[in-house]
Subunit: 464 residues, 2 copies
């Protein structure tokens, strides 16, 4: 290996591999150091296994619609939890294998070990010191578990251990009602388990719009008990766990902790960089460059604590890879914020969140899905979409939703916001019939009627 | 009623009601004449009942995925066809009721009867002559059935009669593999019937891209026999029908004829308008005005034979309503073409069709869904998306697809094309993970690499 290397990438998750891909277009003098199992968080314990679990849960849950649809015999359906978990792991293994192909190809330039920054382009790993012109830190994150709870041992699950279970006990508490908590509480319930969900906040799934939040909570409570607003307290009780939060009190077999993730920075030696660290011990980086101060160091993905979604981590790595290959860092425009929670109906937040709006300058258009034709036919007739637009110009600012086909509505809205479209611009696209997108049109028309630019047609005039 | 009226609308389907809604913003001196049952084709015998049938069919079909997902007992599921059809009609009735509310409110300005144009703003109905300053013709269409086949009587079904059946016999032939033929052949098969599908063309579902067409045909043939390329011949055989097309020969209980629809113009007296009629007996109208020549007559919806999709019929009526209210007709820009076939995977065509392209000026990007993460998790891992872009500018021109979540990909592409976006513009939106939209990104990146404007990033540079 040439000394100094062009770059050392610490962490082989989504952000690290994205940076690697970018660097490899220009140089092979790259080393990747990874602590713990290889394979991205997404593939190993994140997006992919959770979506596989949700797919089985929703398929089983669909039996409740069968009677009305004219299908009999659904009471004979049963879920085989060990089989569900085996499929989750089998799929996960193929996704992880895709990751491993990339790092295996690096040969001895893929190093297993815990890296420590020594400052000045120096990194120690396994007792050896490596030097590089640039360092990209992509150490990822770990599920947060309050220290006192660790004594509960195997009675405590996180996404690190959930998918490794051979089966699941009947009584599960899900503590934390952010994106992951909502997805998994609902999935476990739909797999037939006795689930209680608890969140210390009053909102769920990251929503900030009070009306959409209310719809999401009611969607959850339709299927399982949800206690909100109180911190959960856990204590061992026989072979199980007593979970208390406010007036809620339950004894369960396992507790799934979904209280968010914390950057993996312990022992990394960030203090050796000589820059200011925030309260969590992480240096601030500009998301447009990912550079730490003016150092030849970049901090990307979950490790920078900025956003915990895959496509942003991937962009982080890509930008850091581009900038670590150049003499000077370029500023890159980040994408319209987009967060999706794979509940059913789906929760999503696009562009500006409700809480970020100056509500005096905003009009809100909404669509309920109770009476929407396609939603009724599909028995997916509940949900709310709220779209935010500038009250003068009609510029689309953001949206929050808990709605059927919400992941798709979210992408359509994200494109519209990314392109700085107005309400009337978005009304001019074709909406087929009968589709869920007609719900979006309903919300847009409501906005259109109240805008000063209100017109007598969704269509544009044209020259002969 | 004031004489002359401001407008006579002939036909209370989607286009007619859309024109009515527009007129009613300005005048109440409107009469609507309708022949046959009130309620739109869409609600009575079109989009809505067919989607309700498809919803039941797909729900029942999903049992084939249960084993792999870890759900047992699917062999005990059974379909109750009379119940399926009852639900179809019950839903239909509520959708039709929505239509009827509008026309019932017209009181004696809603006239049941067959209208005949007398020329010069005069219309006769039920032996009475009405006069109006403008006439909007929205008489809709009727399923085409070759005359000799009519002798088969009740053994022949069309969408007019299909949803009225109390149950369905086991053996059904679907003749015609356009949008409707494909949707219903697949749905009836998934409801457990023994279905043979026949189309005299070599393409299905309206596709023109040979590769997407091949995927769609293979998707169909995976579930039922499909004979293409020969005209079907029908003859009575016992209580059933012998259906022959090329080497295909089957005896079935019923034949569903899905050979397209023809404008309802018989006896309407279009010749009284004194303008040229095409071979089908229909005058040409400019889709931007819907006006017949320079007459105070507008021809909208299926009756003008231009497009048989609801949102276009609705726009037709809207434009005619606007123009019939004005001194001079305004030209209105029509939306990006969008056609969706509700098979699963979905077929869709957006913007320019393959057959309309100058292929020497076009690059094609494609995505297969066999290896797409989300598609595999959902067991919806087959399909093809092909996106067409200008080979110099990267301008998005169109797409054809047979893909999971295809109806949603189609709307996203329709917005992009409507806004004249390029490949790189569309690559700059966020694509969440894991979603079907990532398949679109794959196709776009393939295009991007081959464009002269190819860049080192999907992202845009920005100022500090």
């Amino acid at each position: 290996m040439r000394d100094p290397l062009d770059v050392i990438i610490i962490g082989a998750g989504t952000a690290g591999l994205s940076a690697l891909r970018e660097m490899q277009k220009r140089t092979q003098h790259v080393v990747v150091i990874n602590d713990g199992p290889w394979g991205t968080m997404c593939a190993r314990v994140g997006c992919m296994p959770s979506k596989a679990l949700i797919a089985a849960a929703n398929a089983f849950h669909a039996r409740h619609t069968f009677g009305e649809l004219g299908i009999s015999g659904s009471s004979g359906l049963a879920i085989d939890l060990p089989a569900v978990l085996r499929r989750v792991r089998a799929l996960r293994d193929t996704f992880v294998a895709g990751n491993l192909d990339v790092t295996n190809a690096l040969g001895d330039r893929a190093i297993s070990g815990r890296a420590r920054l020594l400052g000045g382009g120096r990194v120690s790993v396994n007792g050896t010191e490596l030097r590089a012109r640039r360092i990209i830190i992509a150490t990822g994150s770990t599920p947060y578990v309050p220290k006192p709870w660790l004594a509960l041992g195997e009675r405590l699950l996180t996404t690190d251990s959930l998918f490794e279970q051979q089966t699941l006990p009947n009584r599960i508490a899900v503590v934390g009602q952010g994106a992951l908590g909502v997805e998994l509480a609902l999935a476990l319930r739909r797999l037939g388990l006795d689930v209680v969900a608890m969140g210390d906040g009053l909102t769920v799934a990251g929503l900030t719009d009070p009306e959409v939040n209310a719809v999401a909570i009611s969607m959850l409570r339709h299927e399982l008990p949800v206690a909100l607003g109180d911190k959960a307290e856990l204590s061992a009780e026989g072979a199980g766990v007593r979970v208390r939060a406010g007036r809620s009190d339950a004894v369960v077999d396992r507790v799934l902790v979904a209280l968010g993730r914390r950057p993996n920075i312990e022992g990394l030696g960030l203090d050796a960089l000589g820059v200011a660290l925030d309260a969590a011990g992480v240096p601030r980086v500009d998301p447009r460059t990912l550079q730490v101060g003016d150092l030849p160091v970049f901090l990307v993905g979950d490790a920078n604590g900025r956003s915990a979604v895959l496509h942003e981590a991937s962009d982080d790595g890509h930008i850091a890879g581009l900038n670590a290959s150049a003499e000077r860092a370029t500023f890159w425009k980040r994408r319209t914020p987009l967060a999706i929670v794979f509940s059913e109906p789906t929760v999503a937040m696009i562009g500006k969140k409700f809480v970020e709006l100056d509500t005096s300058q905003v009009l809100i258009g909404e669509a309920h899905f109770e009476h929407q034709g396609r939603a009724r036919i599909a028995q997916r007739d509940s949900g709310l979409l709220r779209v935010y637009a500038d009250r003068q110009s009609g510029l689309l600012l953001g949206a929050e939703l808990c709605a059927p086909a919400g992941e798709h509505l979210a992408h359509l809205l994200a494109l519209a916001i990314e392109r700085s479209l107005t309400v009337s611009d978005l009304l001019r696209m074709p909406y087929y019939h009968p589709v869920f997108e007609e719900g979006l049109r309903t919300a847009l028309r409501q906005l259109s009627e109240r805008l000063p630019t209100s017109q007598d047609s969704d269509l544009a005039r044209c020259e002969r």
